[in-house]
């Protein structure tokens, strides 16, 4: 973790050092970089508003926290880091400005990275201050020449002076624009495209233009990926063909299908003070009739995922719009092999639901609005705290015919609890006791373990995390791992029922994570995490403790994250929004 942080910091600084060279200014009359980049480029990343990104990297709370961490300070005393700092200081003196300012001036016009179809990496930086770029470039070439081990070569091509350093990387500076390539042919292609007709450049490619439009004008950075080429890669091809995990098929609902249909993917990063948002758009149309995705779509315009359920101490909420009946009816398309897991699942469902047909008689009971809640739980001090503390989680389903479903679910729930109790009894472990208490006028079923036996004093086994319960209210069915969460959900659902929830527009999936509670549960399991870290990283306990504390610190910084998946104008769109803690 430490090395990753230092390498990020160094990486940022290195961009500055490379940036030394760059300085092209769109304002100065250089055309957009895409005009110089060949049409058959696989992917391109354009940082159109570098200052926003730099601001986040250099001046945000995140950087502050990292640089104030004891581990960072320790690393800062390492010889390599000191050498690096000395180098930076030297450049600062030579250029007459601090490195942060230099970095902004050198990259202010925009940064573009691209991968060509031949696998060459291109980097184009437009400097805001062309003079500073020339100055730095001259300085570095001079320094490189001083080092006799390094052979600096320069050649002329299409009127540009191209510099090649020892490792085969080449670059040139043209009117404030720094262009580097990992191989000479990459730079040649750029210079050829520049002097060729616009039709040969990426800028003229309709797919690129469409992706740019999808990314939006206000993006601080955007990327375009030519999926037509990417999909040819053997690994990707195999990945798209293989689709055997039923859970993934249910959650991704058509994403894989959309990828198969798509020609391009657009990504857009937006930065707004404390909020980062990353939006992904695919051009592939998901056909409404596709069995692979139809279960997540509705003809009705007001249908869609419901807002998440707000409960105290919520770590995460997930809300889906999935027609389980339609999904399971298409199982042969979705996961072709009959795995033993699937058959075992059907056997158990056959028992729980007393021989009813799973597809037509059980899953047909459920409406497509499905919600999942994860929350931190409090443990009863009279019973004790489990050695590993799991969060409470609950599934909230909506049903078409509440009375019928309530009985169906109640019977299945009690059978499942009985089965668990029976098998733990076989191992000599205690089983559950069923109860039917009432809370907030709702009668629910709960299964709980008796007081631990003497032998179990001290940290309790994992099973003490569970108090499975089932509650039916209105058209909602709550299946929860912990009684406290069931009660919280009863409160929340009562309020929701009074106000009739409205489905989210054009959204079939919504995931929200609250980092404060996530950090809290991670903190409660700090010992277990440390041990795992000791083991996996092959490090001492002290080092592992530092690692975990850094991780916890980083999670705490993140306030909230929201992920949505849905369709807009027939395009599949995924959006991740992260809000940092102020």
């Amino acid at each position: 973790m430490l090395s990753r942080i230092t390498s990020i910091t160094i990486g940022i600084a290195l961009v500055a050092v490379c940036g030394i060279d760059a300085r092209a200014i769109l304002a100065n009359g250089n055309p957009p970089t895409a005009r110089w980049i060949p049409r058959d480029t696989v992917a391109i990343l354009e940082i159109t508003r570098p200052k926003d990104v730099l601001h986040l990297a250099l001046e945000s709370k995140l950087t502050e926290t990292v640089t104030h961490h004891p581990l960072f300070k320790q690393a800062a005393l390492q010889p390599n880091f000191l050498k690096f700092q000395a180098g930076v200081h030297f450049l600062e003196t030579q250029l007459g400005t601090d490195w942060q300012t230099a970095l902004k001036k050198l990259t202010g016009g925009g940064v573009t990275a691209a991968i060509t179809s031949k696998g060459v990496v291109l980097l184009i930086i437009d400097a805001e201050d062309a003079k500073l770029l020339d100055q730095l470039h001259g300085l570095l070439i001079g320094l490189a020449k001083l080092d006799t081990a390094n052979q600096v070569k320069s050649t002329e091509y299409q009127g540009a002076t191209c510099w090649e350093l020892a490792d085969g990387q080449v670059h040139t500076v043209l009117g404030g624009r720094f262009i580097a390539a990992s191989k000479p042919e990459g730079l040649k292609a750029v210079l050829d495209t520049k002097s060729g007709s616009e039709g040969q450049s990426l800028l003229a490619l309709p797919a690129y233009q469409a992706a740019k439009k999808a990314a939006g004008e206000e993006a601080a950075a955007r990327a375009y990926v030519n999926l037509g080429i990417v999909k040819q890669l053997p690994g990707v091809q195999a990945g798209l063909e293989k689709n055997t995990n039923p859970v993934a098929a249910l959650l991704l609902a058509g994403v894989i299908d959309a990828l198969r249909q798509s020609n391009w993917m657009a990504l857009a990063l937006k930065i707004d003070e404390q909020t980062l948002s990353l939006q992904t758009t695919l051009d592939g149309k998901v056909s409404k009739n596709s069995e692979l995705a139809a279960f997540a779509r509705s003809e009705k315009p007001d249908a869609g995922a419901l807002p998440n359920l707000a409960v105290p101490r919520r770590i995460a909420g997930m809300s889906l719009y999935r027609d389980l009946h339609g999904f399971y009816a298409a199982k042969d398309k979705l996961f072709p092999e009959r795995t033993s897991g699937l058959i075992f699942f059907e056997n158990m469902m056959g028992i729980f639901f007393s021989g009813r047909d799973l597809t037509d008689e059980v899953l047909s009971q459920f409406r497509p609005e499905i919600r999942f809640v994860v929350a931190e739980q409090k443990f009863d001090p009279a019973i004790g705290v489990p050695q590993v503390q799991l969060p409470a989680f609950a599934l909230v389903l909506k049903v078409w015919r509440p009375n019928e479903a309530a009985e169906l679910m109640e019977e299945a729930f009690q059978k499942a609890v009985g089965l668990v109790s029976f098998t733990s009894g076989q191992k000599g472990a205690p089983g559950f006791i069923l109860d039917r208490p009432t809370y907030n006028e709702v009668r629910y079923t709960v299964a709980y373990l008796g007081k631990p036996r003497d032998a179990e004093k001290g940290p309790l086994p994992l099973r003490y995390n569970f108090r499975p319960s089932l509650a039916c209210l209105g058209d909602n069915v709550v299946i929860s791992s912990a009684e406290s969460l069931t009660r919280d959900l009863i409160d929340t659902l009562k309020k929701e029922m009074a106000a009739l929830p409205k489905a989210l527009h054009e959204t079939d999936s919504l995931v929200e994570v609250n980092a404060t509670h996530l950090a809290s549960i991670l903190g409660a399991n700090r010992h277990a995490l440390v041990r795992q870290n000791v083991l996996e990283k092959g490090i001492s306990q002290g080092e592992a403790e530092n690692n975990i504390d850094l991780l916890l610190g980083a999670v705490k910084l993140l306030g909230k994250a929201t992920f949505t998946l849905g369709q807009q104008h027939d395009q599949l769109q995924a959006k991740l929004v992260m809000t940092l803690n102020p």
């Binding site: 092999e337 009959r338 033993s340 699937l342 056997n347 469902m349 021989g355």
Partner: protein, 425 residues
């Protein structure tokens, strides 16, 4: 039984491999190995055992369509006679088994009716252990039946274990051996030597002494005889490993037959490639149905699930037979399927069947006596609600060991069992 050096080299190199020794192979060994190339290959027989986990419903696999009791016991699961692949006036294969039907017609497939053992156990892990250990008190058994067979023919000096498990679930107990480390192959990639540049050292004569600054361990008065020197053995293993790696690589590049897109078909293709690599592997173990309790455990909604599994079984094996025929390998190969038990004759209320007892086994190969072998157990004389077995499974094992593999079955099975006539004489 000890191997001569020549035998060893022959075994470890097979015939096709030109042993171009490389990085860690000393030259003199490469020369000796090359000299052994003229030996003809051993045409040993090969056994492939296929485990069908969960308890296969034999009654809906080989269907007694004329028996009224069949229809009576299977109100929703019965398969109508028109759709079956009819073997004769009484029996037919499940509709999704055209491949098996074709093999049957060609005389390459035999059905052994009513195989099991007395007082059958109906618990998955216990019953599976019975079949895997060939011991009716399987808890006392520390090794599997094939593990014991392997231990009998394995020569540590030869540096090759003549058995392999190919599959995706953990190694089955049947292959647990006392001495031999039976490889678990998930993919043939694992035979590749990573980071090996295949550079061949020059053929220069070596002085026995190493460089003067590193004089060998001097002890003038003492010397261990060459018989105690382990280094030549290790060098031979390195050589054998390199040869194996090359042979497998060559076999994977050789054209293969067409297989359906099932995981099980991929497993069988891997086995055929290993046979083509001529590594001296005589016992293969494969599985369909996965982890316990297994896919054949069709307690609920059996019809579609069971049909899909039978299709995988039948079409994959048919493709394998076709592939083996191309290289005239079929006469050397025999495949047998088994499950831990059959299923109840009557269906349960969940459109499924429960754990039964006797089951039909399938034997496939060029030397197999095709057809229906033995009596179909009656449907009105049941044992634990399943069919009553008349053929002890250990008789089948004994036939495979004694008559097919030519491995003495007595140490493997603990006593002598009379053979079952399913091999061509």
């Amino acid at each position: 039984m000890s191997l001569s050096r020549r035998d060893f080299l022959k075994q470890s190199l097979g015939t096709s491999a030109l042993v171009s020794a490389s990085a860690s192979v000393p030259c003199f060994l490469a020369r000796t190995a090359a000299a052994a190339q003229t030996q003809p290959p051993q045409d040993d027989t090969i056994l492939i055992v296929v485990q069908l986990a969960g308890g296969n419903d034999g009654l809906n696999t080989v269907v007694p369509f004329r028996d009224d009791l069949y229809a009576k016991n299977r109100p929703t699961l019965r398969l109508s006679a028109e759709k079956l692949h009819k073997l004769d006036g009484d029996f037919g294969f499940h509709p999704q088994m055209p491949g098996f039907y074709k093999l049957y017609q060609e005389g390459l497939l035999g059905v052994l009716h009513g195989v099991g053992y007395p007082n059958p156990n109906q618990d998955h892990p216990h019953a599976m252990r019975v079949w895997q250990s060939a011991d009716l008190r399987p808890d006392a058994s520390q090794t599997g039946w094939l593990g014991r067979a392997v231990d009998q023919i394995y020569q540590p000096e030869a540096a090759r274990v003549p058995a392999v498990y190919v599959g995706q679930i953990p190694r089955p107990f049947a292959m647990n051996a006392e001495r031999a480390i039976v490889p678990w192959v998930r993919s043939l990639d694992q035979y590749g030597l990573q980071g090996d540049d295949g550079q061949v050292p020059p053929e220069t004569p070596h002085a026995e002494a190493s460089s003067p600054d590193r004089a060998p361990f001097q002890q003038k008065t003492a010397g261990s005889s060459p018989a105690h020197d382990l280094l030549p053995f290790v060098q031979r293993v390195a050589l054998a490993a390199r040869a194996t790696s090359r042979q497998v690589e060559a076999a994977t590049k050789a054209p293969a037959g067409d297989y359906p897109r099932f995981q099980f078909a991929a497993t069988l293709r891997t086995i055929v490639q290993l046979i083509r690599a001529h590594l001296g592997i005589r016992i293969f173990y494969a599985e369909l149905g996965g982890d316990e309790p297994g896919g054949f455990d069709t307690h609920a909604g059996q019809a579609l699930n069971h049909g899909a599994l039978l299709e995988q079984l039948s079409e994959s094996i048919a493709a394998m037979v076709h592939d083996l025929k191309r290289d005239r390998l079929l006469d050397r190969v025999l495949l047998m399927t088994f499950s831990e038990f059959g299923r109840t004759v009557a269906e349960n209320g969940r459109r499924g069947t429960d754990h039964g007892s006797a089951q039909p086994l399938f034997v496939v190969g060029g030397k197999v006596r095709g057809g229906l072998i033995g009596q179909h157990p009656r449907l009105d004389d049941l044992e634990s609600n399943g069919q009553r077995a008349h053929t002890d499974f250990r008789r089948v094992y004994a036939t495979l060991l004694d008559e097919w593999l030519k491995i003495d079955s007595r140490p493997v099975l603990g006593s002598r069992f009379s053979p079952v006539a399913f091999l061509k004489t």
